[in-house]
């Protein structure tokens, strides 16, 4: 067991030394893998941020109750009472039809159109914040409000968040497909790198076999090399994404000042970072494994 461990440790050290000995080639390889992985990872980060943003908005879902045009002041008061007592309502406010018309006049530039109307076409309305943001609860509330007297229409304002969610789902699928393609590219890169290494070390492999090296012994340094290459590539991708987020946040801070909304991208979570590194190392190992299996058997003696 100690021998086994020290053999692995020695292989690891030798493999690191080999990576360092040809720095340009290693850097190029790591760079290619890094860029390839940075694409899906970057998209993933973008999506994750959008998702967080969307759920932040959707966390404060609103319902708009529009009353019938003929509703009287006492109808309004009655609905006001009902809302006040309702446990599913966090808070609400009332917008009278006159107020709504005034707002349209001042804020939309439709003053002329509004002036020309013979009567106010807008209904009285309540804007309700629900205490629970789950879409089932919201839909139940909507159905309940709809049945109240003099309520003409209830609109659920989180519908757009659901639409965004659907788009995000599509985006995640696209990221997954992109990731699969580029994972394949990573496997191809390590496969080829290891193939070249095996060719240049052909003699060494042959001699080692002649004097009693087992196949696992011969395979081990190549597998380590592949895994390290993948790991370094994953690290490069991580840095690229981090740099990208940093630069974008710089730009976003201007934007958020203009719009008065706090806009900030969050980089990869610790868990995502770890999965990225592990996955890329595994991909490198896998590419090496395929390559070694294929090319060492070509060197096999009778």
């Amino acid at each position: 067991m100690r021998i086994w461990l020290s053999q692995h440790a020695r292989t690891l050290a030798a493999t690191l030394a080999r990576l360092v000995r040809s720095p340009v080639a290693s850097l190029l390889n790591v760079g290619v893998i890094g860029v390839a992985l940075a694409l899906p990872v970057g998209f993933h980060v973008g999506l994750a941020n959008l998702q967080a943003f969307a759920s932040e908005l959707a966390a404060a879902p609103q319902l708009s109750l529009f009353l019938a045009l003929e509703a009287s002041a006492s109808d309004v008061a009655q609905i006001d009472q009902r809302l006040k007592r309702h446990s599913g309502v966090r808070k609400y406010h009332y917008i009278s039809r006159e107020q709504a018309l005034r707002e349209i006049k001042t804020s939309t530039g439709l003053a002329d159109v509004v002036e020309s109307l013979s009567h106010n076409p807008l209904p009285d309305a309540f804007v309700v914040d629900a205490s629970d943001g789950a879409s089932q609860t919201l839909e139940a509330l909507r159905d309940e409000f709809k049945r109240w007297p003099k309520v003409a229409h209830v609109q659920l304002d989180s519908a757009w968040a659901q639409r965004l969610e659907a788009v995000l789902k599509l985006g995640r699928l696209a990221v997954l497909m992109l990731g699969a393609l580029l994972a394949f590219a990573l496997i191809a890169v390590t496969f080829n790198t290891i193939r070249l290494q095996i060719l240049t070390q052909r003699e060494e492999i042959e001699i080692a076999k002649l004097i009693g090296a087992t196949n696992p012994f011969i395979r081990r340094p190549f597998l380590y090399f592949g895994a390290l290459l993948g790991l370094a590539g994953g690290g490069a991708a991580w840095l690229i994404v981090l740099g990208g987020v940093y630069l974008l946040n710089d730009g976003l801070s201007d934007l958020s000042r203009l719009y008065g909304v706090p806009l900030r991208l969050h980089p990869l979570t610790a868990q995502d970072s770890l999965s990225l590194l592990l996955f890329s190392a595994w991909l490198g190992w896998f590419g090496a494994r395929l390559s070694v299996g294929r090319h060492l058997s070509e060197l096999e003696f009778r």
Binding site: S6, R10, E203, E204, L210, T214, R302
Partner: protein, 224 residues
Amino acid sequence: MISFSRVYKRYPGGFEALRDISLAIADGDMVFITGHSGAGKSTLLKLMAAIERPTSGSVLINGQNVGTLRPRAIPFLRRNFGLIFQDHKLLFDRTVFENVVLPLSIVGYERRDAARRVRAALDKVGLLAKEKAYPVTLSGGEQQRLAIARAIVHRPAMLLADEPTGNLDAAYAGELGELCKSFNQVGVTVVIATHDEHLAARLKPRLITLRNGALAEAPVEAAA
């Protein structure tokens, strides 16, 4: 214990390098295989080390049939041998030390232990001062001695040497002879394929002579 029984070896292409070879080499024997160039000496050694497989007949090493050995078992069989190849098979991008340590790393020796053994082996062949040199900077004879050091470093039970004195001058050939003898005296089986008659005269080994792939005389009995 090495024993051949009715061994034929035909290379791809149809050339019959060995014909009907039966012989036995007991543990602790010292044997020279002689014969003209192309007689099949190297082929005989390759069969012993499972580098080639017999076309028919059986080759037994310590009771294991080389011809039917599983591929996974072959490395472990080879570790019983110290092999000196006719073309040395040195690694030219590795130092003298790294060349000699290879058999030990394959087996998984601890680093310090390995370094001690490598130096002992290099000392035996007179290359201790060249530990950090690369094989290209060595003379032909030094390369040959390097190959010998690599073959003996893991203290094999059997030493198989193909023309080990080919590039050595008489003095070093003599020293090599003494080296082989000293191994033989501590119980190592030594099999040497060679043309070197001086060496044979000095060591008085048992001789196996090949002619055109066949034994030149009736198979010699295994030494007592």
